[in-house]
């Protein structure tokens, strides 16, 4: 029954709507419109990207993505750890698995635009947070339209993508391994650092990939939380296509990002042998 031709519509679809567009975007990126109106092929657009102005934007994007990843890991790892520990305890007692974990990853599937938007109500200068602070006579905070707000938005949007893979790995660790370490005289702290953390590394690696990569190319989080004052690589690409109408340059940046992502994914996968399914989510 596994007739190969059943997959042909899908393969055609991927060819037309995934592979051909990548070729097109590459062609755009090496196409340069010269002053006399003719077009030619060159790597001018790529060279332009390595200009100091754009490198600053790129560096800033990397910095913000790095911060978001660190916060997601710092706050997400404990969540995954506690949830996994409790889940194993429940299973050991023969109880049904808990729905708590489900609640922590559910936001992944909810409309990110609305989730991002929901923070405006809280963070606005006369929003809920400042109303509450004012009620208690505390000083006002205005973090909207700052780097901090953009990082907060990214952590909020992406933290489920860190909790999920870390949890998936932690929950599978055999409790007897921890017991063995303790029986051999390791303190609980030592067990955590020498056993749990090394064993959860594949999950951490895919979590980092899943948070860091989208953080670099997001543009709506920085637009909504940055109020148009924060410029990331994602915003740069979006602007080249929709505002500046320099598709060739926009394509070149998109290609650079695509190659960087592909490379970092390959590097991450080196740490992640035998954990194929996790790399996807």
């Amino acid at each position: 029954m596994y007739k190969k031709y059943l997959s042909y519509p899908h393969l055609m679809w991927m060819l037309i709507f995934v592979l051909v567009p990548i070729v097109i975007i590459f062609l755009y990126s090496i196409n340069v419109l010269s002053t006399n109106g003719t077009t030619g092929f060159s790597f001018e657009n790529y060279k332009n990207f390595f200009d100091i102005t754009y490198m600053k934007i790129f560096g800033y994007s990397l910095w913000i993505a790095f911060l978001s990843t660190v916060f997601c890991l710092g706050f997400g790892y404990p969540v995954a750890y506690i949830l996994a520990k409790r889940e194993r305890e429940r299973l050991a007692k023969g109880k049904k698995s808990s729905t708590m974990f489900m609640l922590f990853v559910m936001p992944m599937w909810m409309n990110m635009m609305l989730r991002t938007y929901s923070w405006l109500t809280i963070l606005e200068s006369n929003g809920l947070l400042n109303t509450l602070l004012g009620f208690f006579g505390l000083p006002q905070v205005n973090i909207l339209y700052t780097t901090a707000a953009v990082v907060l938005g990214m952590v909020y949007d992406f933290i489920p993508f860190m909790i999920l893979p870390v949890y998936s790995v932690l929950v599978k660790i055999d409790p007897s391994i921890n017991e063995a370490a303790e029986d051999l005289g390791a303190s609980p702290i030592k067990v955590f650092f020498k056993v749990t953390i090394p064993m959860s590394l594949p999950g951490v690696v895919s979590g980092i990939t899943m948070v860091f990569l989208p953080s670099i190319t997001t543009f709506y989080i920085s637009n909504i939380f940055g109020g148009g004052q924060i410029m990331l690589v994602g915003n740069l690409i979006e602007q080249q296509f929709l505002v500046a109408n320099n598709w060739n340059f926009g394509s070149a940046i998109a290609i650079v990002m695509m190659v960087l992502m592909f490379l970092s994914m390959k590097i991450m996968n080196l740490f992640n042998k035998g954990n194929k399914q996790m790399a996807m989510f």
Binding site: Y2, K3, V18, F101, N111, T217
Partner: protein, 266 residues
């Protein structure tokens, strides 16, 4: 005593993180019933934003687009994806199969921005006017891999002899597929369908680049009006969140029965 304290602290931490994730959504929901227009002041209970939402023709047409694209892209990608999942099993050469899987994964693993921009350039190159059709084509593209992902584990569990037995007993291939194979893989197919629908109605980035001519979906509507004070969005969000949560609960209930096909959290 010490373990009790530790346990309590852990619970406090979990609840704080839980609040971090859900308080903004809860605030949005509560304020959708706010009589006052301000986002910080409570002016009494009212359903007026829901009424205004229904009267807003731009918003309603965005809702219509979202639902049409959601349903159509889910159904079409479900058919193509299910057929593909079966067909891919037929590729016995490991290298070729890996290559197909790699290509299938591209829309899932690469940046939405790059996919959106490259599709936009494709539609321009093909001279297809951008609008609902192009948005639909784009949504089918990113939905198919998820359908395959959710159907494949069910195919792995399937006993190949069942189909062979049906054919040996004289069933036509299509009849055997419909009556023997399909019922077995149906949970995976339905989950793929629901997931595709969820992804489609949530999408912003790819829709943003592949639409045109004033056709917007809900996410684009929210994005373009977020800067101004617009409590209609609160009403809309409340409804959207409730629908999505119900869908997710249904998917989770369906998959929690058999762990292997729980795509949502696999």
């Amino acid at each position: 005593m010490k373990t009790k304290l530790k346990k309590a602290l852990e619970s406090v931490y979990l609840y704080l993180m839980f609040m971090f994730l859900y308080v903004p959504i809860a605030v949005l929901m509560v304020f959708s019933f706010n009589k006052a227009k301000s986002r910080g002041v409570w002016g009494g209970f009212s359903l007026k934003w829901y009424a205004e939402m229904l009267a807003d023709s731009t918003l309603m047409s965005a809702l219509r687009t979202t639902l049409i694209v959601g349903v159509l892209s889910a159904v079409i990608s479900c058919i193509i994806g299910t057929a593909a999942a079966i067909g891919i099993q037929g590729f016995r050469k490991k290298k070729l199969r890996n290559l197909i899987n790699e290509v299938t994964n591209i829309p899932m693993v690469s940046s939405e921005l790059v996919i959106g921009v490259s599709l936009m350039l494709l539609f321009i190159a093909l001279k297809i006017p951008r609008g609902m059709l192009t948005m639909l084509l784009a949504h089918i593209t990113f939905n198919i891999p998820y359908v395959i992902l959710s159907v494949t584990p069910k195919l792995m569990q399937l006993d190949n002899n069942l189909y062979e037995a049906a054919v040996d007993l004289g069933a036509k291939p299509w009849y055997a597929f419909k009556n023997v194979v399909l019922p077995e893989i149906m949970p995976g197919v339905i989950n793929g369908l629901l997931m595709a629908f969820t992804l489609s109605i949530d999408d912003f980035v790819i829709s943003f680049f592949t639409t045109g001519n004033g056709i917007t979906n809900l996410s684009i509507y929210v994005y373009s009006t977020a800067k101004r004070l617009n409590p209609k969005i609160n009403a809309l969000s409340t409804l959207m969140f409730i629908v999505i949560m119900l869908l997710l609960i249904i998917i989770n209930k369906r998959t929690s029965k058999d762990k292997d096909s729980n795509v949502l959290i696999s």
